[in-house]
């Protein structure tokens, strides 16, 4: 039977396929050509740099793509590859690296390798010596990147030759020196004194390494070559200063430390095991910050979800009646906050809560320093988020209410249930089953709602003794400050806090989903 039946059935698609799939074939060839071109373009800089490991990965990925799309069958893989590749490259790998960094001391004080740290220590210890030759100096920036690193254009006093000085050292450059002493070079924009002084911190920080020490700016038109007061001695693996201090390399801390336990500021990156996690749990200041932020973080997410759900539900119930005229207009106006750009409305609300000119104080005739006091600041950020999010809950509850079959509540009414009983025992449990996953998702979202804090209070108000952790900080904004704040980057610690956030959200979501499943079972059983 099978032979007879499958004969004609097979032959039909074969004819149709060859006729119809020409377009598909062309598309497939086009996409593979594009993938190849992209892979070649990505490989060129890697080869130039000699990163053979990355080249190998790229080639392997390209070959895998070819295999999946050229071998017949493997149909699910053909559909999963694009999203999965993006997911791996831009989410899974960053997450894995984050966990990896959490086990290192990576940060401003531990940025690169030991060699880089030694160079940085030696050049930054450069002190001017009496009678050292003075270079004529012009401060410049790359012409195509005015905000980029500053460089020095230096004219050697003895030869008149102009050199380009960067953190990597000196190199000759074809430059012009005007009669008044201004130096210009192709590819660079020479800064005026005013422009240079606007970046004076960068100018002072730049020390061009030379054989004996380095060249540092003095003012904005002169530079001196000086000698290093700290120098590295490979024999003892230590740094000695001209005063006779000895700093030995401590490979477990990634820093040079002297006998008194003082360390040189610039260290290098080493694995530190669990010490970042231990710091979060044991360092008195960090632990106190972390715990108080965690508690507030939970309160914030719970309050936002609870209040928005309550308001949304009341409004959905109120407008879930054909007897209300202008229903559509009401609905359209109420959901407006959800359609408005949230980031802009947060910035606006920040100004509505402004103490001096804000609408709230002006309209109510009060003088509350909303963002200046921890309690009012917390109330304010919850209110702002509630305003932004309650239309979403309104929409969700409306949808869920409309999906509940009318017969159910009619039956309950026939059985003699009052309106409240009907709602409490029939409508609400059904509604909760439908919206519970969304409530959990909303909780997870608000738990990490960076915008709600960064665009309003920026974490403040800050207690006078703790500039790192503010009263309205969420863990995510605290992490961001640890990593990118003005106090200097501590990527290792920030990554460790990220891992904690992940664990907390994962546990809460799992519990939430468990209970939702239980809820569903109960309702099915009943």
């Amino acid at each position: 039977m099978t032979a007879v039946a499958s004969g004609p059935r097979r032959s039909v698609p074969r004819v149709a396929l060859s006729a119809r799939s020409t377009a598909g074939l062309v598309a497939k060839i086009g996409v593979l050509a594009l993938v190849t071109a992209l892979a070649v373009a990505l490989t060129v800089p890697l080869i130039a740099e000699g990163s053979w490991g990355l080249v190998a990965i790229l080639v392997a990925v390209t070959l895998a793509i070819y295999a999946i799309y050229l071998i017949p069958g493997l149909i699910p893989a053909k559909y999963l590859v694009p999203g999965t590749l993006l997911l791996i490259a831009f989410q899974v790998i960053p997450v894995i690296f984050t966990i990896f960094i959490a086990f290192t001391n990576y940060g401003d004080a531990h940025r690169g390798t030991k060699e880089q740290a030694i160079t940085a220590i030696q050049t930054s210890s450069v002190r001017q010596v009496e009678g050292a030759p003075a270079y004529r100096l012009a401060v410049a920036v790359p012409a195509d990147d005015p905000g980029g690193d500053v460089v020095f254009l230096l004219q050697d006093p003895s030869t008149g030759e102009v050199l380009l000085g960067t953190v990597d050292g000196l190199e000759p450059i074809d430059a012009e020196v005007s009669a008044t002493g201004g130096i210009t070079a192709p590819g660079y924009t020479t800064l005026t004194v005013a422009e240079a002084s606007a970046r004076s911190a960068d100018v002072q920080a730049l020390i061009v390494p030379t054989e004996n020490g380095g060249i540092a700016a003095q003012g904005f038109s002169q530079a001196f070559e000086g000698v290093a007061t700290l120098s590295y001695d490979p024999d003892c693996d230590c740094v000695t200063s001209v005063d006779g201090d000895v700093y030995s390399a401590d490979e477990t801390r990634g820093a040079f430390v002297n006998e008194e336990g003082d360390r040189l500021a610039q260290g290098w990156q080493v694995p530190v095991g669990l010490s970042n996690f231990a710091r979060v749990l044991t360092d008195p200041i960090i632990r106190a910050n972390f715990l108080s932020i965690l508690v507030w973080n939970l309160v914030f997410a719970t309050a936002v979800v609870g209040v928005t759900f309550g308001l949304g539900l009341v409004m959905a119930l109120a407008l879930n009646s054909p007897r209300v005229r202008g229903l559509k207009t009401f609905r359209a106006l109420i959901v407006l906050p959800y359609a408005m750009p949230a980031f802009a409305m947060m910035l606006l609300w920040r100004d509505i809560f402004n103490r001096d000119f804000g609408l709230i104080n002006t309209l109510l005739g009060i003088d509350v320093n909303w963002f200046g006091d921890p309690t009012t600041a917390r109330i304010a950020v919850v209110l702002i988020q509630v305003w932004l999010a309650y239309p979403y809950m309104f929409l969700v509850c409306t949808g869920a209410l409309q999906a509940i079959p009318a017969e159910l509540s009619e039956a309950a009414t026939l059985d003699g249930a009052g309106r409240f009983q009907n709602f409490r025992h029939v409508m609400f449990p059904l509604l909760l089953v439908a919206v519970a996953p969304l409530l959990i998702a909303s909780f997870a979202f608000n738990f990490n709602n960076y915008n709600a804090i960064a665009l309003t209070t920026e974490g403040g108000p800050f207690p006078p003794d703790s500039p790192q952790a503010g009263a309205t900080d969420l863990l995510i904004s605290y992490t961001y400050r640890l990593a990118f704040g003005s106090a200097g980057a501590d990527y290792g610690l920030a990554a460790a806090v990220s891992v904690f956030i992940f664990l907390i959200v994962a546990v809460i979501s799992l519990i939430g989903f468990r209970r939702t499943a239980a809820l569903e079972e109960i309702n099915r059983g009943g």
Partner: protein
């Protein structure tokens, strides 16, 4: 029964309170928006002079915004990044949802569970690493690095699977598979079944996912703020933030004008696709 008693015992508990709630909600929803409109039209343009009803009305703020700042660039950047990313997100997650909904293959269940898990570690928690990775990318491939929309779009697409795939898979499952089988018998390839038969049938959920991605990306600030530091490359969120970060009082009128112009595309798309939204959101919810 007297008219008054009929009002208090019948009309109000049945219908009247509904109007009360609705009107209160409309006032709460609208007043900040009214404030934005009036501040945008108020030629004095400062926060200290802003009121609910301005004394005079002019387009000064809009003129200054369009001529003195990079606002048109920010606007174009935001629209382009959000449009490309949300189309990309819809496309890759629809492909994945098709595989998960229609094929039974090894690793299907672990794959679905993995998507659920990965979603709990949102990209921005890896912000440190993303910054470090893209600092390297900027050295190697400047067009994909900082101050370029392309790198940012790729990054947004990296988070495209996950919740979107679940939402779509739930919707795909509601389309009877007899339709696909009929198409296969008629000689359609799996690609033809997907693009010609299935995609048109699941248009509502595509619209919802596209809309949600568009709104999310228009509002994305954390990653964009790290990526886009030069004014011409900024998005609206980063640009408008910069406008009021330093000159909060003076630029308030400009900021409100910018907010209104920013709202036009999101509000238009939102109301255009509104009829899909309620159904789409809860379809995903009921499926879990």
């Amino acid at each position: 029964m007297s008219p008054f008693r009929r009002f208090t015992t019948l009309w109000f508990p049945e219908v009247g309170w509904r109007y009360l709630v609705a009107i209160a909600a409309v006032i709460v929803s609208l007043f900040p928006v009214v404030f934005v409109v009036s501040a945008a039209l108020n030629p004095q343009g400062t926060l200290s002079s802003a009121k609910l009803i301005p004394d005079e009305i002019s387009a000064t703020n809009f003129q200054r915004l369009l001529t003195e700042t990079d606002f048109p660039r920010w606007f174009a950047n935001s629209i382009l990044i959000a449009t490309f990313s949300s189309f990309g997100a819809v496309f890759v997650s629809a492909l994945a949802a098709y595989a998960f909904s229609r094929f039974r293959f090894r690793g299907r269940r672990p794959g679905l569970m993995f998507l659920l898990l990965v979603q709990m570690f949102p990209q921005f928690l890896a912000v440190v690493t993303i910054y470090l990775i893209f600092a390297r990318v900027t050295e190697l491939y400047p067009p994909l690095g900082f101050n370029s929309g392309w790198g940012l779009m790729l990054l947004y697409l990296g988070g495209a699977l996950g919740v979107n795939t679940w939402l779509m898979k739930g919707f795909f499952d509601t389309v009877p598979s007899s339709l696909d089988e009929a198409a296969t018998i008629d000689g359609a390839s799996h690609a033809q079944t997907f693009f010609r038969i299935l995609l048109p049938l699941v248009a509502p959920v595509l619209a919802v996912v596209g809309l949600l991605s568009f709104i999310t990306i228009m509002n994305e600030f954390l990653l964009a703020n790290i990526f886009l530091t030069q004014s011409p490359s900024k998005t609206l969120a980063v640009g408008l933030y910069g406008l009021v970060a330093s000159q909060r009082d003076n630029n308030f009128g400009l900021f409100c004008a910018g907010t209104l112009l920013t709202a036009i595309p999101t509000v238009a798309i939102f109301y255009g696709l509104q009829r899909f939204i309620v159904g789409g959101l809860t379809a995903g919810a009921v499926k879990g």
